[in-house]
Amino acid sequence: MGGKAESGNASPKSESMAAKKASPDLLNSLSFKSLKLKTKQQELLIRVSILGLVYVLAFIARLFSVLRYESMIHEFDPYFNYRTTLFLTEKGFYEFWNWFDSESWYPLGRIIGGTLYPGLMVTAALIYWTLRFLRFFVHIREVCVLTAPFFASNTTLVAYFFGKEIWDTGAGLVAAVLIAICPGYISRSVAGSYDNEAVAIFALLLTFYLFVKAVNTGSLAWALGSAFGYFYMVSAWGGYVFIINLVPLYVLVLLITGRYSMRLYIAYNCMYILGMLLAMQIRFVGFQHVQSGEHMGAMGVFLLMQVFYFLDWVKYQLNDTKLFQTFLRITVTSAILVGGIALGVGTASGYISPWTGRFYSLLDPTYAKDHIPIIASVSEHQPTAWSSFMFDYHILLFLFPAGLYFCFKRLSDATIFIVMYGLTSLYFAGVMVRLILVATPAVCLISAIAVSATLKNLTSLLRTKQKVPQTGSTKGAGSSKVSSKVSLDQSQPFQKNGAIALLLGAFYLLSRYAIHCTWVTSEAYSSPSIVLAARGAHGNRIIFDDYREAYYWLRQNTPTDAKVMSWWDYGYQITAMGNRTVIVDNNTWNNTHIATVGRAMSSYEDEAYDIMRSLDVNYVLVVFGGVTGYSSDDINKFLWMVRIGGGVFPVIKEPDYLVNGEFRVDKGASPKMLNCLMYKLCYYRFGELVTEYGKPPGYDRARGVEIGNKDIKLEHLEEAYTTSNWIVRIYRVKPPTNRL
């Protein structure tokens, strides 16, 4: 290599030069010539600098909303996580672990310590305590807001190592870059999105990487690492069920394709047993690993591995093929029989619980629509259309099949894993939009393989040396047959030009990907949802901060033991920011309680008043978008309240609220709709308001119609507060009149 010889020549040369010339030349010569690195060091420098830049890129790409609005927590669920993290840092771990919260789900309360995944909160608290130890006295909210981008940067590093394990370092680097800006991942890990997925994707990829490393090396240390990675994943997110089903499925595929080996045996056994024991430390998970139907696949494959090992040992001892064949048949039959009987007995006796609704609806997507309206109502749980895929992946949709092709060309234990991860996660992403996030690392890795392999092919075309007539070695992709060497000479400049053109095309595609990702992040995924923005008449930006206005009004103007009834979407925010007790919140663990609230919202005022008195409600909060045109308000969600309420209380019938199957709020609406509590609370005094120039008063901008019932009188409630843009409206429940 040229580098070696030159550095060898450089030092005596620089000394002789230094002896002859003055000191500035000495400085120059020393700095330039001694910086001549060997190729290996150059490569290391390039790799480290690329990874460093990608780390910074992943962090800053997620900071749009912090720069545009302020450093605040977004959405609904993160507010609960923030409140629990605050509690953890103030009261310590034991109080947090044993916390019973009486401020939500009045009058039932909620055992928070036993019904949450503590990984996220503990991680943020550890970062907070570390920073305080280093004397950086930041507020816990800042740590919470920036946890997700920090862990996204760490995910890019894990993606690099994973890509290196599966294919080579080039693929690892491309995977790190792709996953740093992929919108599918950014959507749930922007700064401010303080949700379980922020650390869960990091834990997922780490567990998979450590497991694949363990299978490749057969080392007990890596298997132990993967068990601890699995523990972190279990503590962070309910999606750990994906790992505990994918890994056994992968082991099964390896067994079927004849790739059983001692490495696989060590890796899977260690990870399964230790992972299961560690997972039982989380109270929310409990003994599900031995009791729940979703975890039985892992146990079945574990027993199957023991059978395989036993058969292998017997084969080694026997040295007789015929005898062994007989023994094989008997053992396999009896093992399957025993396993089947055990599973049957367990399921029949009820010890092994069946698949829960949330995960069963992934296997049978039509199940939730018919049976569980709460799951079907969440917009994130809808199946995915092609445009969502395109939005979140762009070019990766082209590179994914090509990457699969390269993986199938070079099958190994690691590539089989990534193919299975990619396919299963992509299927689940097709069933539920939210799960595009889980598929993103696999899609990025497989696409990175395609990019790396294609670029390698193209650049090897470029690097074929001009000196062709060497009978032994021919580098590059040119034909190695002697007969076509003459034509190779003539077509080489054409090939080189073609390769350069294709490389430019590849760079163009990747740059379009980067532009798309930045645009999507900026426009679609950086809105805090609690602060709304719109374009005014002159193109200036108008900010609607009504939610926080209403919550702070609640915090400052209501008695501390007041109870607030609202639809479950807003529960976490009311408890975290308004600091008041709520009836139902986003945890949605008690369907009957939510149905009671839904029934109250959809009944006439008198019946609703009885329900509210029975729940000790003092204030009612509704969200109304008629003045601003905000379309995610309670009137648009109203039919779900009816469906969920009607699912438990048959007095609520959905056709009562519809006219010819259509949901209307104007003059042609059904009388039950025009007089129900939700309608009255949303449209109280709205009939006098002119919302748009040229339209009559009482024109609802979100539905685009003039409302039917403008003369609303409230008997048992009175208006307490309406925010400046009429988005949040709060009503006080009047105490019963004195008996005369």
């Binding site: 079927i256 394709t257 004849g258 059978v307 036993f310 017997v314 001892q317 026997l318 015929k322 005898l323 007989t326 023994f327 008997i330 053992t331 039959t333 009896s334 093992a335 029989l337 025993v338 997507p365 809808q382 199946p383 995915t384 259309a385 092609w386 445009s387 969502s388 895929f389 395109m390 939005f391 070019i395 949709l397 082209f398 590179l399 994914f400 099949p401 090509a402 699969l404 092709y405 199938f408 060309k409 193919v419 396919l423 992509l426 299927y427 097709g430 069933v431 395609a450 294609t454 092919n457 075309l461 992709a477 040119g478 034909s479 076509s484 034509s487 077509s491 073609g498 294709l502 095309g505």
Partner: protein, 176 residues
């Protein structure tokens, strides 16, 4: 020699080690030899247990490509939400019904045909990259390599351009 058995052989209870061969110690085999089959004569059949061979990797890959096409076209969305194959809008002036190919207004909604055609474009682009790799394979004739390369490049270009066109039609404010 009977192997040292552990827990695996406890369940069936009937067959021990040697069930093949005439000198069987299997009691059920002897019972069956006497009771139905001393007077019933089993016919001579030439049946073989079907042997299970694993398909080649490329066969599996083509099946997977088909599944990928279905998932990417939003097949699950079509089955659950049951949108129409193609939408329709009424022209406000003439009153005629015009077909609408792309469902506008939201990112996560589609008609069946628009999903299938977009999925096809994605798969076309993917196949283009695969054909490029096949074109660089050493052991083929030059003309075959050249045609693979041309087909691959044109597939990628067409797939990318059409996908960009579709997404621009679907989301009006794209890249603004």
């Amino acid at each position: 020699m009977a192997p040292r058995s552990d827990s695996q052989n406890l369940a069936t209870g009937s067959a021990m080690s040697e069930t093949s061969g005439e000198s069987s110690i299997d009691p059920i085999f002897h019972i069956l030899r006497i009771v139905p089959f001393s007077f019933l004569r089993p016919p001579r059949l030439r049946l073989k247990l079907p042997s299970f061979t694993l398909p080649s990797p490329m066969t599996v890959f083509s099946l997977i490509l088909l599944t990928y096409f279905l998932v990417i076209s939003g097949f699950v969305y079509d089955v659950i939400v049951e949108p129409p194959g193609i939408g329709s809008a009424q022209d406000p002036i003439t009153g005629a019904i015009r077909p609408v190919v792309f469902m506008s207004g939201r990112v996560n909604g589609q008609y069946i045909i628009e999903g299938l055609s977009s999925g096809f474009m994605f798969v076309l682009g993917g196949i283009g990259i695969i054909m490029l790799d096949l074109a660089l394979d050493k052991n083929r004739a030059k003309s075959v390599k050249a045609s693979y390369a041309t087909a691959g490049i044109s597939s990628i270009v067409i797939g990318y351009v059409m996908s960009m066109l579709f997404i621009r039609i679907k989301i009006p404010g794209y890249l603004q």
